[in-house]
């Protein structure tokens, strides 16, 4: 581990519990790099996570860390941030945690535009329970509960966040780890609800069931399919079919909830 990021880890809790080849460690690395670059006070930063593989990340990080119930990370985080707005609050959640059982909390946190930096580890599957399909599993993909191919359609999570009112929305992959750090920094700086969707590779469950090869092959898939907005613009509709944009997708300004509440307190006080 790089010495400059060691201070952000509870080293005695490592090695982590993720499978060999899992992408989650890359996201964690990008997160602490971002926190380091932002020079955030470790004592004033809280990491909130839900349940699932991604959510275990909180235990490895040396901050106040809150490992909550399944799907509820954003609701707990809303409580922390609203009660003590001066804390920096990051939310780490997976695709099942955030978009299925936590879907309601997700759209409402975005609607409230509460100042939370939310990182969704999207591995397209429920990893911890052994590979069932999630609302982010692409149509026709295999999972243990879609053995004949997924009949459902996945969410477009970033579109959902934009529609719900998030003021910073970005997407990238574990292949684009440096970009991820930059996006987390930008998301943190946004005074409002920020969503960063990270497509991460799960070789054990999603990759294996969908014949995606080695972890390195899955990273290459991310490289070849996740492209910049500029490159995407120049593609024909046919070429766009299996591609997605990485980078900032949406950025706007809107009143932030805890700031508005503070104004109310000052008005009444």
């Amino acid at each position: 581990m790089l010495p400059e990021i060691e201070q952000y880890f509870r080293l005695e809790k490592l090695p982590h519990m993720w499978c060999p080849g899992c992408g989650n460690g890359i996201i964690l690395h990008s997160l602490v790099k971002a926190i380091d670059k932002l020079c955030l006070d470790q004592d004033r930063t809280t990491i909130v996570s839900g349940i699932g593989c991604a959510a275990r990340a909180s235990g490895y990080l040396d901050f106040d860390t809150l490992h909550t119930t399944h799907g509820r990370a954003l609701a707990f985080a809303t409580g922390v941030k609203f009660a003590k707005p001066e804390l920096n609050v990051f939310v780490l959640t997976g695709d099942g945690d955030c978009t299925a059982i936590g879907g309601n909390h997700f759209i409402h946190a975005a609607r409230r535009n509460i100042n939370l930096t939310t990182i969704v580890f999207n591995n397209n599957i429920y990893g911890m329970t052994g590979g069932q399909y999630s609302p982010m599993t692409p149509n026709s993909c295999r999972a243990t509960t879609s053995p004949y191919g997924n009949l459902e359609r996945p969410f477009n999570l970033t579109d959902l966040a934009i529609a719900a009112g998030a003021t910073f929305v970005a997407r990238t992959t574990t292949y684009h780890a440096k970009q991820l750090t930059d996006l987390i920094i930008e998301g943190y700086k946004n005074k409002g609800f920020s969503l960063i969707e990270v497509i991460t590779h799960c070789p054990t469950s999603f990759g294996r069931q969908n014949k995606m090869g080695t972890p390195a092959d899955m990273l290459k898939w991310q490289r070849d399919h996740g492209i910049s907005a500029m490159r995407y613009e120049n593609l024909t509709p046919e070429e766009r079919a299996d591609k997605f944009i990485v980078g900032v997708l949406h950025k706007t300004e809107a009143p932030e909830y805890t700031t508005e509440y503070q104004k109310l307190l000052e008005k009444l006080g």
């Binding site: 809790k13 470790q42 004592d43 004033r44 809280t46 909130v48 909180s58 235990g59 040396d62 901050f63 106040d64 860390t65 809150l66 490992h67 909550t68 119930t69 509820r72 609701a75 707990f76 985080a77 809303t78 409580g79 922390v80 941030k81 609203f82 009660a83 003590k84 001066e86 804390l87 309601n104 909390h105 409402h108 509440y261 109310l264 307190l265 009444l268 006080g269």
Partner: protein, 383 residues
Amino acid sequence: MSTEPRLVQGNEACAEGAIYAGMRFYAGYPITPSTEIAEILARRLPQVGGKFLQMEDEIASMAAIIGGSLTGAKVMTATSGPGFSLKQENIGYACMAEIPCVIANVQRLGPSTGVATAPAQGDVMQARWGTHGDHPIIALTPSSVKEAFELTVRAFNLAEQFRVPVILLMDEVVGHMREKVTLPQPGDLPVVDRVKPTCSRENYYPYKADSDKTPPMACFGEGYRYHVTGLFHDESGFATEKPEIIDWQLKRLHEKINQHLDEIITYSSEETADADLVVIAYGGTARAVSRAVKLARQEGHKVGVFRPQTIWPFPEAAIGELAASGKKLLVAEMNYGQLLLEVQRVAAGRCEVHSCLQSNGELTLPDVILTKIREVYEHAPGN
């Protein structure tokens, strides 16, 4: 707060009691018949520098208050039957992670949507066992407006002292009833704050305490940088699957309550000393029972009332004494017999246990209870 008596609603007394106790963070979701608590706090909390948050559902409300509590705030949510069901998930989390919080449940008729505005007391067992797994719980049941205020304050004190969720088990009768009361002035009632650690970060173990003790609780943002999880954890707060540690922690969760029953359990006994029949009732039902007992006394029956204010942990010792003394017991409640089960368990065949149960959306009337009291006497051996 006015020193003059005024007409106060039960739900209002609960809201004002919470503010009196130092509650400054509320998150909730509208539901009849508890909604006045949210409405009053939406207006009152910002006036005292507090935070009011209307969440997207009951699950989120419960989650948000736990988050708020971890920053050091005294926190609360209020709900009713269907919402209470939804809160159970994170009530369990609060039990496991030892997070102080208060949940007011103004009971209405169930199951399911039931009748939204009708009184019932069908959530007694849900208050005890609603969330999965073995866990202790504290639940208090007021039966007057004044008591709604006092027990709300007490609920916060117990939550903070023992690092537990405390359920204020109201019912529609008490919640919507208005009575003339003088609300307590600052200093009239004790207000307890949680114990915080004084040690350094390196020496802080958030779940380390003697077997019957509650560990000090650090606030997020104050440099302790600790971990909180709903997984079984060791004294440092990190997940464990080791049976011996799980055993120790689960026992400690129970013992920190069980070893302090005298501090937690309160009840009122009226005219039980010479009674040969004691009616056990709580909440709205206890009001009708008081009237029925008065009438029964006028008829010459030696009847008393036992009214638990702490319904969980169950006042086992006090009920056991009544049973051992050979008095007959009559449990009156607005359900199909929930506290009755506990009374029967504790009586263990040592005395007759009768019941007066009603669950049709109407408050049990004094006449109904009086009729039952007469029946018990008429069927007594020797009559």
